[in-house]
Symmetry: C2
């Protein structure tokens, strides 16, 4: 049983923590982007790992819950606790230092509050790249990105957030600090606690800093937008491209026509330079070694795709500006979705070869529920679709509230039936706790509960997230 | 407290398990490659996941230890239990099926007993590659490779065993089966138990099958052996190569002259085609996309390296046969080491930029101990050195027994002092339990013990490996 975080409890910390730690919680700490949850709690904003440790030790002793808060961009309510006993909201936003950069090692040490765009910039300044890239990179923070094992646009080639991390510094529920901030690429000394903390959404420990791996910048990069005959043709195109250029394919995004149409409807100005607008499109990026021109490699792939009947139209960016314009289409779709307002949004993955069947089978079942629109787009090469269901033009999501849960159930049941996941990259948070219980392997769930109890015996860390409190 | 595995205990299983499960333990189950440990126990060789579950349930109930056994190639005694209470030796060698191959997904399902070379072959037959590659690939089995998070030659580009695995089927200590054999590239539903099991050396569960990811085959591959002026020059060469061809550098191995000299001394016939034999050499492999000739890319790298004063001699393989001859040098060194017999062998890693300092500082301290020879070689791009210390020519390791522990201590202390690891890829097993206690972070160790108790409350799984029993 947890006790509430009260002003009196915070007062007991005032002689151990400097004044800047004590701040008022603002809307950014109490709301989440989709407006599904409204949080509560008292804010503490430590400036160092030691201060985080002091806070956790006190919360552990007093059985006070702690909800960690990074950039607040999570989409599943992991960052806000609605109802229950008021927690401490632990903001990492003051711990933004890039502690060190080791260009010759391709390693950077960043604190949990460092914003992704700043980490990317630090890598660029060192002549390297930090491959994690996603729509919220201007506000998402490293601690949250690791805690949710964020995905994004470059997972196909570089892996998700987990793959970008070599080591962690973590404050445990008891306030003890695990100094695991290694710069080693290989270290087989004991259990992989790094990967256990990554994706645990702050329920097993508070990440305070990370050793991040940077990647070499490809000598040349290029992008193209291709029409594809179908989702299956898109998969064949991916295989064809990889047969030719291997895993220099750094991104491979599928888009249905609905996405670009939403851009127009929402008054956003990214435009597809293909006429007529194809039903299905693929946005592809190559990162190539010295000696190859991306336009040539993309043209060869396009010709082979046309010869194989996979594609009939396409545009290859001939400059970085053109490439950015193509990527703006893809990256603006989430904002269009937000403006239009979905009935239900889903972040599913299925085994790659089942993806066309999933798309084929989901649509008629959903249309049978009502006159809905489907915006299906996402990271095809990872088997990860953002499969979002919208009201018809001129109507609002509120009018479809009664079918919302049924829509979600249909999409999730179908993905699960194909051996898929109901959260490919967004995590569980509070939104999908029921889904995890419904679809998760029971032995996995009982292991998760055993580990949670072992590492956080009072259950203070992000109560109610991932596992029911 | 564990009970011994007795013939009577095995008899209680005879009505629940078919006859082929009951076999006599052979030398292959009781010895390990370096002859440091001699095992004991009674053998069971289940043919299915259900049979593994039946055995573990019985062992859990009766508090009988279980030592899992794959190919038996581990170098740290994880596969043999010497002394203590006799365990069941659980051989996975009968579970060798490649259950399924999904070329369009780059995924394969293999049972734990599948031999690495067979998995590589199955990938090749599907037009793909399975990148894990190491000296013992003809006998090492997938379950053991994952349980030890094996490394090898291609970690630089493809990551270690962990990075090749999408999902696992695991029998828990209680006999419950976690069905986590997913073919998904992205799945953020709950804690990362896959990576917790990988590298746990059979102390948290028994891996019975794995979903493995295959990689596209590069359109063209090529290898070269370059003289390098020093280990620091080797690091600069790696950075230079990656600036030009990015991470199409698939392997980058450092060798000291001592290695090729050992090949001659041991009567093995791989030869370095450089005259005079350089003190330091690098063996590099590129895996390139369509449109580039590896010889051209390697020649451009060589020219730039010469211009930068990093290299003065080199040979670029002009055929696959020549490339194989170059790789035979590197791959035969471990056999030469075995024949000559080391005083102490080490599998250390340090942060990349500290590697030249480590090499510089270790040598004089070791030479001060006696007239020893050092064979330093390994996966430079990963910061991982096999740093092995040998007696002078004509003398034997036994004559140096009294300095063995001191040698190990010097090497491990120095690596640890640089923020390094005392087991980069071989794991802890039973050989390095003391080292883990000496060098490991105490908070990490207490977390490991808490997790071990949570998942294996009777302590039956691989007793005494990784954590003291």
């Amino acid at each position: 049983m947890l006790n509430p975080a009260t002003p009196e409890f915070l007062d007991t910390l005032r002689d151990r923590l400097p004044e800047p730690v004590f701040r008022d919680a603002g809307p950014e700490h109490l709301e989440e982007p989709r407006g599904r949850y409204r949080g509560q709690g008292l804010l503490l904003a430590p400036g160092s790992t030691e201060e985080v440790a002091t806070i956790l030790q006190a919360c552990h002793t007093a059985c006070v819950g702690v909800v960690p808060h990074g950039g607040g961009t999570g989409l599943v309510g992991g960052q806000v606790m609605q109802g229950g006993v008021a927690p401490v909201i632990l903001s990492l936003a003051r711990m933004t230092a890039i502690r060190d950069v080791f260009p010759s090692e391709n390693v950077m040490l960043a604190e949990a509050g460092a914003i992704l765009a700043d980490v990317q910039r630090a890598a660029r300044e060192a002549g390297r790249m930090f491959p994690l890239s996603l729509a919220s990179e201007g506000s998402a923070r490293i601690g949250g990105l690791l805690s949710t094992n964020a995905g994004g646009l470059n997972v196909l080639r570089y892996g998700n957030a987990r793959a970008q991390c070599l080591g962690l510094e973590v404050v445990m529920a008891t306030g003890e600090v695990w100094h695991g901030l290694t710069r080693l690429y290989k270290d087989n000394t004991g259990y992989d606690l790094r990967d256990l903390m990554i994706g645990a959404e702050g329920t097993l420990g508070i990440i305070t800093a990370a050793a991040l791996r940077m990647a070499p910048v490809p000598a040349a990069s290029g992008s193209a937008l291709f029409h594809v005959a179908s989702p299956r043709a898109a998969l064949d195109l991916l295989a064809l491209a990889r047969d030719r250029v291997g895993d220099t394919v750094t991104a491979f995004e599928l888009m249905h026509r609905q996405g670009p149409e939403f851009l127009i409807e929402a008054g956003l100005d990214a435009r597809v330079p293909l006429d007529p607008l194809p039903e299905w499109m693929v946005l592809m990026e190559l990162g190539l070694p010295e000696g190859l021109r991306p336009e040539d490699s993309l043209a060869a792939i396009f010709e082979a795709a046309v010869a194989a009947g996979l594609s009939a139209d396409g545009v290859i960016a001939s400059s970085e500006t053109q490439a950015e314009a193509l990527w703006a289409i893809r990256e603006t779709i989430p904002e269009a979705n937000r403006r239009i307002g979905s009935i239900s949004s889903h972040d599913i993955s299925v085994p790659l070869s089942a993806l066309p069947d999933f798309i084929e089978q989901a649509e008629p079942v959903l249309r049978a529920l009502g006159n809905v629109r489907i915006n299906c787009f996402g990271h095809l090469g990872d088997g990860n679709l953002h499969y979002n269901v919208f009201p018809p033009k001129g109507r609002t999501r509120e009018e479809f509230e009664e079918i919302r849960l049924r829509v979600k159930e249909i999409v999730h049941d179908l993905a699960h039936g194909f051996g898929g996941s109901v959260s490919a990259e967004h995590g569980i948070g509070r939104l999908k706790v029921d889904d995890l219980e419904r679809y998760g392997d029971p032995v996995k769930l009982s292991m998760m509960r055993a580990i949670k109890t072992a590492l956080d015996p009072h259950g203070i860390l992000n109560p109610g997230a991932v596992l029911r409190g």
